[in-house]
């Protein structure tokens, strides 16, 4: 069996695979940044003492966390044109395509997960810090921006990065919408050249090396932060 394998298929299709990997990385980075931004806003909303705001935020987060990512991907793929249409007031829904709707999907989906991380981070900051900030005459937004969030962000950095590694893996699900991410590219090559075994084994090895190295780095970072504190 092993003798039938042809790993040259990987070399031949490497540029195509790398373009897929590039999309995967791009989507991961954008979603991590966007997710952190909206997640932080959501976290502040969840911690708001104004009930309608905190309940709405909690509802959104819990909803996102109870349904499969795959379903969310398809939801946004289907809803994105409608949303854009109504926001822009256009007559017809635009053609957005899976590749671009995925950006919206992952930002919105990750926001829910990053929200929970940032919420824990904000809550880990002692009440004294908030009091001190207010005592200096800072208003809520200034206290958040200048005192609380930087500390929360620093404390939670390892967790945020670990979640980003999870996100990097989760992005592969867009291949089921026929998007040419890293997995999507390998699926297409595997089917075109009938080299299923070689392609998927290769993809698994690449993901493993990347994710394992990244998580090792995060662990080192975590240890260094633990020493500083």
């Amino acid at each position: 069996m092993i003798g039938d394998l042809d790993f040259e298929v990987i070399g031949r299709s490497l540029p195509y695979l790398l373009r897929g990997l590039q999309y995967t990385v791009q989507l991961t980075v954008v979603a991590a940044l966007g997710g952190t931004f909206f997640g932080t806003l959501l976290a502040m909303a969840r911690l708001s003492s104004f009930r309608p705001v905190s309940l709405t935020a909690a509802g959104y987060v819990n909803l996102m966390r109870s349904v499969p990512l795959l379903l969310v991907i398809f939801w946004f793929y289907f809803l994105a044109p409608v949303i854009v249409q109504s926001v822009m007031g256009w007559e017809r829904p635009p053609q957005i395509g899976a590749e671009r709707s995925a950006y919206i999907t992952f930002i919105m989906f990750e926001a829910a997960y990053f929200c929970e991380i940032m919420r824990a981070g904000i809550q880990s900051i002692s009440k004294g810090q908030v009091g001190a900030a207010f005592a200096l005459g800072l208003n809520y937004w200034q206290a958040m921006k200048l005192v609380i969030l930087p500390q929360a962000f620093r404390n939670m950095l390892p967790v945020l990065l670990t979640q980003t590694i999870v996100l990097f893996q989760d992005v592969s699900l867009v291949s089921l919408l026929n998007v040419t991410d890293f997995v999507g590219a390998s699926v297409k090559i595997a089917q075109r050249d009938s080299r299923v075994v070689e392609m998927y084994a290769f993809v698994a090895v690449v993901y493993f090396i990347l994710c394992y190295s990244l998580s090792t780095l995060v662990k080192q970072l975590q240890r260094r932060i633990a020493i500083i504190h």
Binding site: M1, R65, L71, Q169, A204
Partner: protein, 241 residues
């Protein structure tokens, strides 16, 4: 939303759409159930091994967890569905005797079982390590063997402590079952998508699936909270050690 659509017959089928979704839900729950049993047993073993004093066993346990944690689930599905039968002749011989649904189901259970077991192993390990070294010593000092100490002293407390993270793992598992769509298992998400494509009622189909998943999540949460209360140790505050 028009509920009538769910009562309409599936073209070329002798059931209504709601029955189609219900059968998908059945596959989702069955897959999750068997995968959970496999994951719980394997995860407990690996988790325990990682807390022993045997360096090599710990290394192997760590490697096991890293392996399943650093490869995307969908790729793991492809590995179990395409690569393993492609490389191992014995598996291939067995697989061709199965009908496609059986093959997809078995693959999904094995894939999700291994994937989830690595996560449970991590929880079990941290649960055991959260107990004081003195508990283990107390067991040994009474003459209990290592196996007995784990069985009667360490694991009963460790499992209680990790009920909340295990609850999230159960929900993750049920959600992850949707990825079995990638190998064609006719679980809930597969049926939802099928209904959406065939009726063009995307909104209705997706809403139904969303509601079902939310209900499952709420139910799982309730059940686990009940179990947690049932197993609570009087006078012992979890997490307050």
């Amino acid at each position: 939303m028009h509920l009538g659509i769910f009562l309409e017959q599936v073209p070329d089928g002798n059931m209504a759409w709601w029955q189609m979704l219900a059968s998908g839900l059945g596959w989702t729950l069955a897959t999750a159930f068997f995968a959970w049993i496999m994951a719980f047993v394997l995860g407990s073993i690996v988790g325990v091994v990682r807390t022993t004093d045997n360096h090599w066993a710990v290394r192997i346990g760590d490697a096991y967890v890293e392996l399943f944690r650093n490869i995307p689930l969908i790729v793991q599905f492809f590995i179990w569905y395409f690569v393993v039968p492609g490389l191992v002749l014995a598996v291939k011989r067995w697989v061709v005797t199965l009908d496609p649904t059986q093959h997809q189901f078995v693959t999904a259970v094995i894939c999700l079982g291994f994937f989830t077991s690595a996560r449970i192993a991590e929880q079990v390990r941290s649960g055991i390590q959260s107990l004081s070294r003195g508990q283990r010593n107390a067991g040994y000092a009474l003459g209990l063997t290592q196996t007995q100490t784990y069985r009667f002293v360490l694991l009963p407390m460790a499992y209680r402590i990790i009920i909340p993270p295990l609850t999230s793992e159960i929900m993750n598992l049920i959600k992850n079952t949707a990825v079995a769509y990638s190998i064609g298992l006719v679980e809930l998400f597969f049926r939802t998508r099928e209904m959406a494509e065939m009726t063009f009622r995307y909104f209705d189909a997706f809403t139904a699936a969303t509601v079902i998943y939310v209900v499952i999540a709420l139910t799982a949460n309730r059940v686990m909270a009940l179990i947690e209360r049932r197993l609570a140790v009087p006078g012992y505050i979890t997490g307050g050690k």
